[in-house]
């Protein structure tokens, strides 16, 4: 049992971020030390929490010791532990890359914004309250606005304005959705909502379905599902390389929220019927098609990778929209894979950009860049993983998704044809940039000179690829673990019991105790939270 450690992934970055911005404002070295130490601690914490979650039932942390429907709870189950682990690993790689490539000294407050970003993402994965989810979304968004425009520049600021406005509109929609759901159910605690929604007579669910539909739109904006994908390519291309890599987890926050809410609160076939599946399945298929066509049509490498993120979100949503255990397990595997693959590709593309000078990322032949061989090899590995070719984990993930959707032949057709398009797209980009370079005339482009430690940058990107290799080698245990995670998602009673079982009784005992505060002896069941006599030293 993890006790207070459950809140640590939120509290630790929440302390580190202001510490870095206030105390080490002008000292980049100590900023870097504390940032890397914080990220390492987060990885260790996430591993501990994941180990605990994989043997225990969902565990609840009551903030301020308020019981569930009245207070906010954090819930640690296998899915949230998995997301925490993925986030922290990605965060560590991104910070190492930012230090190595010198990105963190091109603007202010990179490291403290990173910590705020971690705080928001971890909180969104842990919280068990829908309004608190909104608050953590805002925390992670406001940090991402700062990171997005890190180091400034005209195109980046303009893309940043678009990104901010799009997400502000999304946040407004989120509030409308929450208000609608609250007006019907009178609660926003997810476990309590699940109980109340399940017993609601079908004749009274009209407004609730509106709320559920609005919520789906909000999460689709975050996940960049068609038709809400327009913000993604410009944002990811113009963001600094390491930030784009970190943003690979941001679309997964939307995916996570969809999986969480539509298995727990609005399960398929439940009160709102099959609404989620009917909306998600076509949206996912079209996202996949548009994403992969975008990979083929992109004119710069940043957009190639950005569109492949849209495609991969489509792929995993095809699996999640089945709402079966096997398909969800496969989708989770593909999600872990595609997050690592997209982040690795963004870092590799940034390595290219740093070395191509004025040519930027355009897919045109430019004389070979420095370290061309190594970078080309890494891009090759990342592209294989992203397109879903053997031997890397993308192939295994897609195979598992195809296996879980057996019988839906149109879906097989979409996945297989789009994979071919992606292979073509990546092949065209890679061969033009790395191969035709040898035929191009001119001098080697001038690389950016302010890299702190290029070796560290390569290590960070390589580390993510090593993660993909590990995910391939240990595909058996990993997919078994994720399958059990999916099982836990489809037995929401465990989650609900962890939060709600006995909550009203305990809350009642606590309040009736306080009501008799003039009494000499605290009422029985008062618990240890209100000592009978003052403790010295407090």
């Amino acid at each position: 049992m993890m006790g207070h450690w459950i809140v640590a992934p939120v509290v630790l970055p929440a302390f580190l971020a202001p510490l870095i911005v206030l105390w080490m404002r002008f000292d980049l070295r100590s900023q870097r030390v504390f940032s890397v130490a914080g990220m390492t601690a987060l990885v260790a914490l996430a591993i501990t929490l994941a180990v605990s979650a994989s043997t225990n039932a969902p565990e609840v942390y009551r903030l301020g010791n308020w019981e569930a429907p009245f207070g906010i709870v954090l819930v640690l189950d296998r899915l949230s532990a998995l997301m925490l682990l993925l986030t922290s690993v990605l965060g560590l790689a991104v910070v190492l890359y930012a230090i190595g490539s010198g990105w963190d000294k091109r603007g202010w407050h990179f490291h403290s914004l990173m910590q705020f970003q971690m705080m928001g993402i971890n909180g969104a994965f842990l919280t068990g309250d829908a309004f608190n989810l909104f608050v953590f979304f805002e925390v992670l968004l406001i940090a991402s606005y700062g990171l997005m425009i890190h180091a400034g520049g005209e195109a980046r600021l303009k893309a940043g304005v678009q990104y901010v406005v799009y997400n502000l509109a999304g946040s407004t929609l989120f509030l409308f959705a929450l208000g609608t759901i609250y007006s019907v159910t009178g609660t926003l605690s997810m476990a309590d909502l699940a109980q109340k929604v399940a017993v609601m007579p079908a004749s009274e669910t009209g407004l609730l379905r509106v709320g559920a539909g609005l919520l789906m739109l909000v999460f689709a904006v975050k996940a960049a599902l068609v038709p809400f994908q327009f913000w993604l390519p410009a944002t990811y291309t113009n963001a600094p390389g390491p930030v784009a890599a970190l943003f690979a987890i941001m679309t997964k926050v939307g995916v996570y929220a969809i999986v969480r809410i539509y298995t727990l609160v609005f399960p398929a076939g439940g009160t709102i019927g099959w609404l989620a599946q009917e909306v998600l399945l076509p949206a996912a298929a079209i996202s996949l098609i548009i994403g992969m066509i975008g990979v083929l049509g992109a004119r710069d490498m940043g957009r190639t990778v950005a569109y492949s993120v849209i495609g991969s979100v489509g792929t995993m949503m095809l699996a999640f929209a089945q709402f079966t255990e096997a398909a969800t397990g496969a989708g989770l595997y593909y999600m872990v894979h595609s997050t690592l693959a997209a982040a690795a590709l963004f870092l590799i593309v940034d390595l290219v950009r740093e070395r191509r000078g004025a040519a930027g990322l355009a897919i045109t032949p430019v004389p070979p860049i420095r370290n061309a061989g190594l970078i080309a090899g890494m891009f090759f590995a990342g592209a294989i993983a992203m397109a879903g070719m053997p031997p890397l984990s993308g192939f295994i993930g897609k195979l598992m998704i195809l296996d879980a959707t057996r019988g839906q032949w149109w879906l097989w057709g979409v996945v297989l044809v789009t994979s071919l398009i992606a292979i073509l797209g990546f092949g065209r980009a890679g061969s033009t940039v790395f191969w035709k370079a040898h035929a191009a005339e001119g001098d080697q482009p001038e690389p950016t000179r302010d890299a702190t430690a290029p070796g560290l940058a390569f290590t960070a990107a390589g580390g993510l690829i090593a993660g993909l290799v590990a995910l391939t080698v240990f595909a058996g245990p990993a997919s078994a673990w994720l399958r059990t995670t999916a099982q836990q998602l489809y037995t929401p009673s465990a989650y609900i019991d962890a939060v709600m079982a006995g909550a009203y009784e305990r809350a009642w005992a606590a309040t009736s105790g306080h009501g008799d505060s003039h009494a000499e002896v605290p009422a029985e069941g008062h618990g240890a939270d209100a000592p009978a006599e003052p403790v010295s030293g407090h």
């Binding site: 309004f131 805002e138 195109a155 600021l157 303009k158 304005v161 406005v165 926003l188």
Partner: protein, 115 residues
């Protein structure tokens, strides 16, 4: 009163959506502010409209004349703080983009594709 509140939310949302679809950042920022006002009133109304009632229950057992739901008030307070902060951020960002680019168009323009 219901009609007044409902039409206020509706009109402000409509105006906000119209404004955020404009091409310049200034109307877009105004539109965002308008939308956040609309959603704040909407959130406030989700606890049902009740006039002159306290947001607390009376003592247990005592007769209570009624109460207004305090939770939407807490939610709307949070939402106001967040939307105020976000408006400040988007104003600063738009100013930054305006100073860098020399115009306040919100689209990226053809130069984006040359990058």
């Amino acid at each position: 009163m219901e009609a007044l509140v409902a039409s206020a939310v509706g009109i402000m949302t409509a105006a906000g959506i119209y404004l955020i679809l404009r091409l310049r950042t200034f109307p877009v920022v105004l539109g965002m502010a308008m939308l956040s006002y609309a959603v704040n009133i909407f959130l406030f109304a989700t606890g049902r409209l009740a006039v002159n009632l306290p947001p607390i229950l009376g003592h247990a057992g005592a007769e209570t004349a009624g109460y207004t739901d305090p939770i939407p008030q807490a939610l709307v307070l949070t939402a106001i703080v967040i939307s105020f902060g976000m408006t400040a951020v988007v104003v600063m960002l738009s100013l930054g983009a305006f100073i860098e680019a020399g115009n306040d168009r919100i689209d990226l323009g053809p130069e984006e594709n040359k990058k």
